[in-house]
């Protein structure tokens, strides 16, 4: 890259000048309205917005300080029990509560969240098709095998890395050669949980470590 002398000079003077500046505290650019709305228009809009139509605190559970909810409390059948909490924690691969206090907190949080989302049950959705994603429905037709083959061809070379070579092991904290390392007990075979952890790859054993081999660099 060739840099013109004059540009370099300009650049270094700019740096020097700016470094010497004493900088005032940041001040936002002050702005003011260009127009004053007419009384008539103000009255017109105010009439539309005069009375609030509802209160967002209606969405809060009744136990909440700010709640103005007038719907009944959460149906006991929808409440989270300690068993249910444990089930959810296991599904989420999150640790179990350490003590009763933490368990109570978790259950309260979940029940609050459930009260909040249970508001949807007020809406009758009979016969309404679920909206799964925003997509161009004007061009929707059945997918044929040819479409799939064509799409596969188009996508080739557009892996997550755009066809570049990419090392999936690079981000891992613990590895051994070309293997991720997952510590476990001696003699423990690949269990269902191992499959949950690493979905692709063949499980092998190296000494006391369960290691997972990555088959091919493109494995995601």
């Amino acid at each position: 890259m060739s840099i013109r002398r004059s540009t370099v000079r300009l650049f270094s003077t700019a740096v020097r000048r700016l470094q010497q500046d004493t900088i005032p505290e940041w001040k936002p650019i002050k702005k003011r309205p260009r127009y004053t709305p007419s009384e008539e228009s103000l009255a017109y809009v105010q009439a539309i917005l005069e009375k609030p139509t509802w209160s967002i605190t209606e969405l809060l559970p009744p136990s909440h300080l700010k709640s103005t909810s007038n719907s009944p409390p959460l149906d006991p059948r929808d409440m989270v029990t300690p068993e249910k909490l444990r089930h959810l924690l296991r599904l989420s691969a999150l640790p179990m509560p350490k003590d009763q206090k933490e368990e109570d907190e978790m259950i309260k949080d979940l029940n609050d969240q459930l009260y909040f989302v249970n508001k949807i049950k007020e809406v009758d959705v009979t016969g309404v098709e679920p909206l799964v994603a925003i997509r161009d429905e004007s061009r929707e037709k059945g997918v044929t095998l040819e479409d799939v083959i064509k799409a596969e061809k188009e996508v080739e070379g557009f892996g997550p890395m755009g066809g570049e070579t990419w090392d999936p092991l690079k981000q891992a904290k613990s590895k051994l050669g070309r293997y991720f390392v997952v510590e476990g007990e001696m003699g423990e075979g690949p269990t269902v949980d191992d499959e949950v952890m690493v979905s692709a790859g063949e499980v092998k054993k190296v000494n006391s470590l369960d290691t997972v081999e990555i088959t091919g660099t493109g494995t995601r």
Partner: protein
């Protein structure tokens, strides 16, 4: 071509970062200054020789820390990804770089985008540039760092992500323009997923014109993003927008809708005044102001949280501490019928995820359990359809994505845009936020104005308006799907209601 003072601007930004970022906590990572100045120098030379790469050549950009940047850590403000160094640039960042833009840093956010004040990440809270040393205000979230960086003149523009309002809310709190495009227009390749069916890349700038420039630079089909609309759909949308509104001159009278269901009791008096006087002024300028009913608004935020968190819990399932994140050594042995390997994963997720993220994963998984699936997740998706249909029924232009969009039921009776608040008030004090934060759902209700456009995939923009007070106030303009062109026109109109106060 007039030379653009790109070097001067870049150096100003670097200086502002040095002086103000310590307080704002907007950037969590910046490249070496020399790298920035070298790029500015190269851009300046291109202007000198009349060969700038684009109108954005030499402009500095802040990138939210959930948008991948090659060789620059992309942490999502989560310990889980504290060392994640992407091997590639996200498509939007690559496009900015190709246009000559300079990446000047990565910005702070709520962990994985889960929050409304940019306080839940491991980098600590972002402070609103309008804060003083006496009282610190929320910058909004989850893209608070990007909003604060633009507002505080630490950069020219910024990228963020908007799932349910994460660009529009911080823009309104920080007094900048925050734009969420129609779903599927800007590529999300390289955006760390929160909720796939809702996530969009968003843009922060100080004026509407700049937001439009950035949008034009990024708005292109990306074959590497399956949710990106292809060229055929894009041409169809373009035909619709142009075909339906041929009279595109500045003196056009717009039909502007006021959604009365957004008029909630909690709206602060200054915000209400700003909303009313902006609409009244637009009426004086000859535009029609019409009240519209959108009853589904009341259930939008509840159904949003079901859908967003279900998708999030699924997206976050891959963080197990093996491929990414903190590696945890085996400590305990089988307890609670849980195998040692699941315990390892749980330990990594406990260390890697903050409290709010774990709370949201639990609810997300709840609504995906076999017994709750139909009553929660599917039910919420049905409400989502109702919300979209409600928007379609109030806009005078048909939704170009609909199977038979020619059929417009409301030509003549519908509206071109909706104008509403972005949030119930200007930025709250960070102390108040900290107090309320313990209560999870307390924060969820603040998304009530931004979530509907996300659910329907519509373009929406937050524009600063005069608020009489010290803190900025933003109003949101929402348009029919794909109608960015006219959205920018009306946003400019609102922007021009203000003039510099000298």
């Amino acid at each position: 071509m007039a030379a653009k003072p790109v070097i001067h601007e870049a150096i100003n930004c670097l200086r502002n970062i040095n002086q103000r970022n310590g307080f704002l906590n907007a950037f969590v990572r910046v490249p070496p200054e020399q790298k920035v100045t070298e790029q500015a120098l190269a851009a300046s030379q291109r202007y000198d020789t009349g060969t700038p790469l684009s109108p954005l050549d030499g402009s500095t950009f802040a990138i939210k820390d959930n948008i991948c940047t090659k060789d620059m850590v992309t942490s999502c403000s989560s310990l889980m990804l504290a060392d994640f160094n992407p091997e590639y640039d996200s498509t939007v960042v690559a496009k900015l770089k190709n246009a000559g833009a300079i990446v000047i840093g990565k910005t702070n956010m709520d962990e994985f985008g889960m929050g409304s004040h940019s306080t839940t990440g491991f980098h600590g809270s972002v402070r609103n540039p309008y804060s003083s040393h006496l009282s610190a205000y929320s910058a909004g979230g989850s893209s608070g760092g990007s909003a604060a960086a633009v507002a505080g003149s630490l950069c020219f523009g910024a990228l963020g992500s908007d799932t349910g309002g994460s660009v529009r809310l911080p823009a309104s709190y920080c007094g900048v323009v925050g734009f969420k495009p129609s779903y599927g227009l800007l590529s999300r390749r390289g955006l760390v997923a929160y909720a796939n069916s809702l996530d969009t890349i968003g843009i922060f700038t100080r004026d509407v014109r700049s937001a439009q420039l950035v949008f034009d630079c990024l708005n292109e089909h990306d074959p590497a993003d399956p949710s990106s609309l292809d060229g055929c759909s894009r041409r169809r949308i373009k035909d619709y927008v142009i075909g339906s509104q041929s009279a595109t001159n500045q003196s056009r009278r717009w039909d502007i809708g006021v959604p009365v269901d957004y008029n909630v009791a909690e709206i602060s008096p200054p915000l209400k005044t700003a909303w009313v006087s902006t609409l009244a002024t637009l009426r004086d300028l000859g535009h029609n102001i019409k009240p519209v009913n959108m009853p589904s608004t009341r259930h939008a935020v509840s159904s949003y949280y079901i859908i967003a968190l279900a998708e999030a819990s699924s997206n976050l399932a891959k963080y197990d501490g093996v491929q990414f994140g903190p590696h945890t050594a085996a400590t305990s042995r089988s307890t609670n019928d849980i195998s040692p390997s699941l315990q390892l994963v749980a330990a990594a997720r406990e260390n890697g995820f903050g409290k709010e993220v774990r709370r949201r994963i639990l609810l997300g998984n709840y609504s995906l359990t076999s017994e709750a699936m139909e009553n929660y997740f599917i039910h919420a998706q049905r409400i989502r359809r109702l919300i979209k249909e409600e928007f379609d029924s109030i806009f005078c232009t048909p939704n170009p994505l609909n199977p038979e969009p020619e059929r417009s039921l409301n030509s003549g009776t519908g509206v071109d845009f909706l104008i509403s608040p972005v949030s119930i008030s200007s930025a709250p004090n960070l102390e108040e936020v900290a107090k309320a934060d313990g209560a999870g759902v307390d924060g969820y209700i603040n998304d009530v104005f931004t979530v509907p456009a996300s659910m329907a995939g519509l373009p929406a923009i937050s524009v600063p308006v005069h608020g009489n007070g010290d803190l900025p106030i933003g109003l949101q303009v929402t348009a029919q799907y794909g109608d960015e062109k006219h959205l920018f026109e009306v946003a400019t109109l609102i922007e021009n209601l203000l003039e510099a106060d000298t």
